[in-house]
């Protein structure tokens, strides 16, 4: 998280040719004095995100300054933007990205200037530069692009811990993956399929069903016109599934309990439909000695060792082509509001990325 002192420096809405009044702190060895960033002064809709000129953040002792080449757009960003999640105002949104280390704090030693790195959980990534704790930065191997790395950090690491740790999925097991064409869902489907599990995915449209099938879903339930409880029971011969991976929450909770086999596991990792209401533990017993977990990524990347091990495993899967991180669209940093509108309209499938330097957009798109 960015220190409040950086967020509260004297800044102003960026207007070309009107930089008078900006207080610029000169940081020795840094390439520039100020940078473009998206700033939220007041919480609200996408329009509260303004492109502004702010001084370059200065890394604290154990921080590094990174030039951001790609920032990932996540629903958590929208939750901070509209105030569902709280952080001191004003702030620069964005938790995830990839880029190159350009400066180090006095005691930073895990990374060095010039390293390609990626991160998640560092607020302030919707900017040309971000200063963050060096222990959040993971090396990006030459075999994957910054786009892939940035896109993989939150969703990819989440998918990785879901199938490997929250419930260690095994070949021959059956997993129900809700929102199987969503950011995390599509990656869970691929990883579960690669493990040799049978994957039943739920999606909202035929179009998304096709995407989920391509990712490896064995069965797809279009929940807008099929009851997923009845369908899962039918597809499993009444036995139910070993595990449910659920980022939907409220809308799916009750029925989830009816589609698990005895001693099955419900992993709740999000609540896109709203929070699950209070749960009577006796229900878990009545429905078959069930398990439930309510997880969050931070607890699965809590130590530097685990963060590095998990990202290395993930980047290897991407580099070997076994995990396809689908990138839906790139936006210039200035169009962050449009990216949020698209995210919230749920009309995209795959990752949305912000690109601080317009040249990089051309380059990346040219490649694909």
């Amino acid at each position: 998280m960015l220190p409040a002192s950086i967020l509260q420096t004297n800044t102003e809405v960026f207007r070309p040719g009107k930089n008078a009044g900006l207080r610029i702190t000169r940081i020795r060895g840094l390439p520039r004095e100020n940078m473009k960033a998206i700033r939220v002064q007041h919480t609200g809709g996408p329009e509260v995100m303004e492109l502004v000129d702010v001084p370059l953040p200065q890394p604290k002792a154990t921080e590094a300054l990174v030039q951001v080449s790609v920032a990932g757009v996540n629903s958590i960003d929208a939750q901070f933007r509209d105030g569902r999640l709280r952080t001191p105002l004003p702030f620069i949104p964005g938790q995830e990205g990839a880029g190159v280390v350009t400066a180090l704090g006095s005691r930073a030693k895990m990374v060095k200037v010039g390293d390609r790195v990626a991160w998640s959980g560092t607020l302030g990534s919707y900017a040309e530069y971000v200063a963050g704790p060096e222990e959040h930065l993971v090396p990006v191997p030459a075999s994957i692009t910054d786009d892939q790395a940035a896109a993989a950090m939150m969703h990819g690491l989440t998918a990785h811990y879901l199938v490997n740790d929250a419930h260690k999925l095994k070949a021959g097991e059956t997993a129900l993956v809700h929102a199987a064409a969503g950011g995390v869902g599509l990656l869970v489907v691929q990883l579960a399929h690669a493990i040799g599990a049978r994957v039943i995915g739920t999606v909202s449209s035929e179009e998304k069903g096709k995407v989920a099938r391509e990712a490896g879903a064995d069965e797809v339930i279009v929940f807008t016109h099929q009851d997923f409880e009845a369908e899962v029971k039918r597809l499993t011969g009444g036995k139910g599934v070993e595990v449910v991976y659920d980022g939907v929450g409220q809308a799916t909770f009750e029925k989830n309990l009816n589609v698990m086999r005895l001693r099955g596991m419900l992993v709740l990792y999000g609540m896109s439909s709203g929070p699950v209401p209070p749960v009577d533990p006796a229900k878990l017993s009545e429905k078959g000695s069930l398990y439930m977990a309510r997880t969050t990524l931070a607890h699965f990347t809590a130590t530097r060792e685990e963060l590095i091990a998990r990202t290395s495993a993930l980047f290897r899967l991407i580099a070997e082509g076994r995990l396809n991180v689908r990138i839906a669209k790139q936006y210039p940093l200035a169009e962050a509001a449009e990216a949020h509108r698209d995210l919230e309209a749920r009309k995209t499938t795959g990752k949305l990325l912000l690109i601080p330097s317009p040249n990089q957009i051309r380059r990346s798109l040219g490649k694909s």
């Binding site: 005895l262 533990p281 000695s289 439930m292 977990a293 309510r294």
Partner: protein, 322 residues
Amino acid sequence: MKAIQVKQPGGPEAMELVELPVPQPKAREAVVRLTASGVNFIDVYNREGRYKVPLPFVLGQEGAGTVTAVAADVKSVKPGDRVAWTSVLGSYAEYAALPADRLVPIPAGVTDQQAAAAMLQAMTAHYLAHDSYPLKRDQTALVHAAAGGVGLLLTQMAHNIGARVIATVSTEEKAKLAREAGADEVILYTQADFEVETKRLTSGKGVDVVYDSVGKTTFEKGLNILRPRGMMVLYGGSSGAVPAFDPITLTQKGSLFLTRPSLGHYIATQEELTARSGAVFGMMAAGTLKLRIEHLYPLAEAQRAHRELEGRKTTGKLLLIP
């Protein structure tokens, strides 16, 4: 035959010693002459009418004895076999007709009394330590009510696995029992706050698993002493049922896991029932699992057995001997 029957739910006096015809085996049943029946809290709940059972009924859900007759379609047991069972009603009696697929063989190294005493509590301890959360060497488990029926067996199994056991008990006397069973640390929750103590004993790290049969009074604090990604195994509610809770609590306290198991789901198939009872009997025969059978009552004194069980004056298992 003699049997203890409940005609109207109520206190211990609702149990009457009656004379009933010896049951005949129906399809898939075997008739067993009982040598021991276990007394459990579930019997009290049935007697009181907390669970609805058609009246009148013969009480008791656990026992051991010898098969005397089988239905023509029964192949898994034969007259003369020593068997034990749990979770089938009708064992406070000289004879019981039981589903043959719920009967498990008693090996030579285990007595009928030991077998009857083990079925519910030791199989519960077994699934808790080996399946609900497969405990590993060097992990740390908090066992609530460690001198209780299941607690004392669970402590032994956890200790045998090589886990570190932190036990909670109510008295010094029970602390001694828990230590003898293998508890590494004992917290007298009547004198010390188990949350504070467990944090101290684990240097703030917390435990891998909490086994909790107490429920209402211990649940919240139990979540506070789990390490990140730790497991809460809630298997009873002796202090009352845990109220509905917000699942986000599990996230806030470290991406925790919760399960609320019951024995029936861990002996659901005949294969699993036989495997589990076999494992438990094996431990008993090898002397690595000790059951405390402290109180034997003639069948006719079932009322006294219930009074003593409910008065919580007993430690160890109560058996009725028909």
